[in-house]
Amino acid sequence: MNLIIFGGIMGVVMMFGGLLMKQKHQATLLATVLMLLLLAGNTWEMLHGPVFNIQAPHMLATTRFGLLINEILLAAGLLYLLVSGKDIEQVGNYVAEYYALIFFIFAGIGVSTAYTNLLMLFLGIEIISIPLYILTGADKRNLKSIEAALKYFLMGSFSTGIMLMGIALIYGGTGSFLLEKFSLQGAPISYNLVGGLLLILVAMAFKVSAAPFHFWTPDVYDGAPTVFTSFMATIVKVAGFIAFIRLFEGASGIIAGKWQWVIAIIISLTLLIGNITAVFQQSVKRMLAYSSIAQAGFMMFALFSMNNWGREGIVLYAAAYCLATIGIFAVLTKMEDYTYQGFNGFARREPMLAVALAVMLLSLAGIPLTVGFFSKYYMVASAVAAGFGGKFLWLLILAMLCAAVSVYYYFRVIQAMYFKEAEQAQPVLPVSAGFRYLVAGAALVVVLLGILPQWLLQFLYF
């Protein structure tokens, strides 16, 4: 929970620091150091307890689950700054501001992983969203970026309105904003409550780009500067999921059997639309946008089954998905050509990066020996453990077949890298040796967690 305070402070420090700094790389350095501090603070809180104690009863509550997720997201954020810092500097002139916005987003993440009150949920989601609108439009000279920002802002405002409406209805139904009020078994069911929950469901589905509320995703991800797409598609998206899961953790009892059907339909639509559309993309960036929709379909399983397996699964999924996607985007940003052909002969030019990318793509496809396999495994296992193996067997089969479809588009990148030769000699990527080692290190973590996922999951309990 200290993340909220520290994140806010770091954001302010970054903002004023920007006034003093003459050069862009100083801002990157400062941001990296601040992120490291943020990570250290959260680690301390997880292992030893909070640095300073805040009492916010009926508003926020620290949980191990929330802290672990924060930890993963902060680590991903640190990796993001390290591999993509140079590209953030390229986006525009106000580098320090971009970093400040990123820290504010982390403060928002702190709220949305710890809330126990619907008002706090609203605040958390908005603190995350508003800086994102700005970051999407950060490339001011690029019309696509501005269009994406406007689109995102308009659509985001709608979903915000819907969420507020839902919260109001729930208040009408239960007389309270507290999560526990409607989470408790045997809470009185009213149309207000159910209607409110459904409206919030719609708004949250929009935030995590689940079908049929996904239409903004490809355009926004494609239009935004690629570095910020990477941030949006990974860290922010996972945070949205955590908020989503916390919200409905107890609510499944209320809508009972029908709840599963609603979620099952959303999952199957998300998987089908995400995977099938991704197959037809010619640009790797757009493919990754659709793949992020497809992966969201798998993450929704945690909402579907609402048990401990699902929680463990989402922890692994957060790590797997963030590591792999940040790594791929980091390399993609350095490329001139975003199409599949741009990757032709990549293995000859950059052998180490090619291996790392291949591992990350295998992880996204869910091949064993990478953490991506276990994240998918836990998701399916959670549904079976919840007793849906019989009635919803079709959903499991569909999910697995979609995983097989995803192999098609992830492997196209691998094929381009390894088995196709570039038509004309392409320049070596303008990256340092440190960048190569960092990406390779991230790939190594993907493999290590793929052998021993328990290492990460133990932090949920001890």
């Binding site: 296992a381 088995f419 021993l452």
Partner: protein
């Protein structure tokens, strides 16, 4: 511990191989690793406890109750021995071939060997699934990078095909896991999984389809001829000699004991399917002009016979199938070596363009004739014992099975002898020049022929290695 070395030796050697930059050195290194694995396998057979089956277990994923547990029982002995012997022969046979990026080629070959060993040893379902995929990934890279024309799409078809099978099986594994009495992935618990008749009927197919694609049996075979044709020959040897046994072995370990009633009920259909496959593949093989496709189809026919025998579930068919696991692997590797020699020297794989090679390369011709005769199961060759036992087993079950499958022997003779005739005898094509065997290839073929004849004359050790059906699967045998 000795069992983990079967996996660890090729795994570590394979990872190290990527960093060896000299071609000759990496070839020698791989051969050494394969020989070391073979030594470990043979040593483990001589251990006093080996008669009852060795096992090894370590906690792997505590909260999932999954163990790194290995089991070396009868079928596993045959298949691990096959893997070790095959890789030694393959590395000898391709010793003189030159590969671009040899270190990667041999590194990936060793990794696939580690995966195969894991599949044959794993007695924990999750571990099994891990290795099942692990064996596939290196092969994907091997075929896509070093294969022939159209290698990328063909290999991709193969990969997607098997991957779909695997993920379906994964659902089955997860479901069965939830039904085991102690929530564990171990083989012992899987055999006790409490399934209703309906669940058995469903999940039997989840597993069967994955295995059937890998073998491949009749309707699932379409990936195979293309893949064998385009894959680099060293990898084709692995695919056809060893990897197809993954599917058959998995039937023995994960299908028959886990779904005993269902596999009894379905055995009739599956045997019929397998026999259709045998006849169909044999007929297509007769019409082939490309040697590689001919061997591929002949392999489908042989695999079909083994699959049928496994589902007969009597002792004779079981022993025949197990011994044939080994013999078929050795024989088909021999055939590929000869094809590789011809294709590398002439660039031709069409039989109609070859002819009269026996005059130029007499030693090669003799070697091929012996291996080919073994392929059609002539007495005194190794395959005779296996096929004889399998046919007797099928006969006991139902006379017509044996009759229908028996036609395949005649067809096998037609296409195999036809191949020898067209390639080595007949009108000589003057434009085609073939030098006789080189030392490495001669050595590889010599080992194969010794194995062919030795197992053909004295099959007892091989039969004892596999053990009996009752011992391997007490649950699966109908009382």
């Amino acid at each position: 511990m000795i069992l983990s070395s079967f996996i660890l030796i090729p795994l570590i050697a394979g990872l190290l191989a990527f960093f060896i930059k000299q071609d000759q050195l990496v070839k020698g290194w791989s051969l050494l690793a394969a020989l070391a694995t073979l030594a470990a396998v043979l040593y483990s057979f001589t251990m006093p406890a080996a008669a009852e089956g060795l096992s090894y277990s370590r906690i792997w994923l505590g909260s999932l109750n999954s163990h790194f547990s290995l089991l070396l029982d009868g079928p596993a002995k045959v298949t691990t021995l096959l893997t070790a012997v095959s890789f030694v022969i393959i590395f000898i046979a391709i010793f003189k071939n030159s590969y671009a990026d040899a270190s990667q080629y041999f590194g990936l070959m060793l990794l696939s060997m580690a995966g195969l060993m894991g599949v044959f040893l794993a007695s924990d379902a999750l571990l099994f699934y891990f290795f099942w995929e692990l064996a596939l990934i290196p092969v994907y890279f091997l075929c896509s990078k070093w294969g022939g024309e159209r290698r990328v799409p063909v290999t991709f078809k193969f990969f997607i095909y098997t991957f779909v099978g695997s993920v379906i099986m994964l659902i089955g594994i997860i479901y069965l896991y939830s039904k085991t009495p102690d929530q564990s992935f171990s083989w012992a618990s899987f055999k006790q999984a409490a399934l209703t008749a309906k669940e058995q009927a469903f999940f039997f197919w989840f597993f069967f389809v994955a295995f059937a694609i890998k073998m491949p049996v009749f309707p699932f075979h379409t990936w195979q001829p293309d893949t064998y044709e385009t894959a680099p020959v060293g990898t084709t040897m692995v695919l056809s000699g060893v990897m197809v046994k993954m599917g058959l072995f998995a039937v023995l370990r994960w299908l028959l004991p886990v779904f005993p009633q269902m596999s009894d009920k379905m055995s009739g259909y599956i045997i019929v399917l397998a026999i259709i496959g045998i006849l169909y593949a044999s007929l297509i093989a007769i019409r082939q002009d490309n040697i590689k496709r001919l061997i591929a189809y002949s392999s489908i026919a042989h695999i079909g016979l083994m699959a049928a025998s496994l589902f007969v579930k009597n002792d004779m068919a079981y022993q025949g199938a197990l011994i044939q696991f080994f013999n078929h692997g050795i024989n088909i590797i021999g055939l590929w070596i000869v094809v590789d020699i011809i294709e590398r020297q002439t660039g031709i794989s069409k039989m109609s363009e070859l002819g009269g090679l026996a005059q130029q390369a007499p030693r090669l011709a003799i070697m091929l004739v012996v291996v080919a005769l073994a392929n059609i199961a002539l007495p005194l060759t190794n395959a005779f014992i296996g096929e004889f036992l399998m046919f007797s087993g099928l006969y006991q079950q139902n006379v017509w099975y044996a009759v229908a499958a028996g036609i395949a022997i005649i067809l096998a003779a037609v296409y195999t002898l036809g191949m020898i005739q067209k390639v080595f005898f007949g009108q000589r094509n003057e434009a085609v020049q073939v030098a006789d065997l080189q030392t490495a290839q001669w050595l590889a073929l010599a080992i194969i022929i010794v194995l062919v004849l030795a197992a053909g004359v004295y099959p007892k050790p091989m039969l004892e290695l596999g053990g009996t059906l009752v011992k391997t699967m007490p649950l699966a045998v109908a009382p």
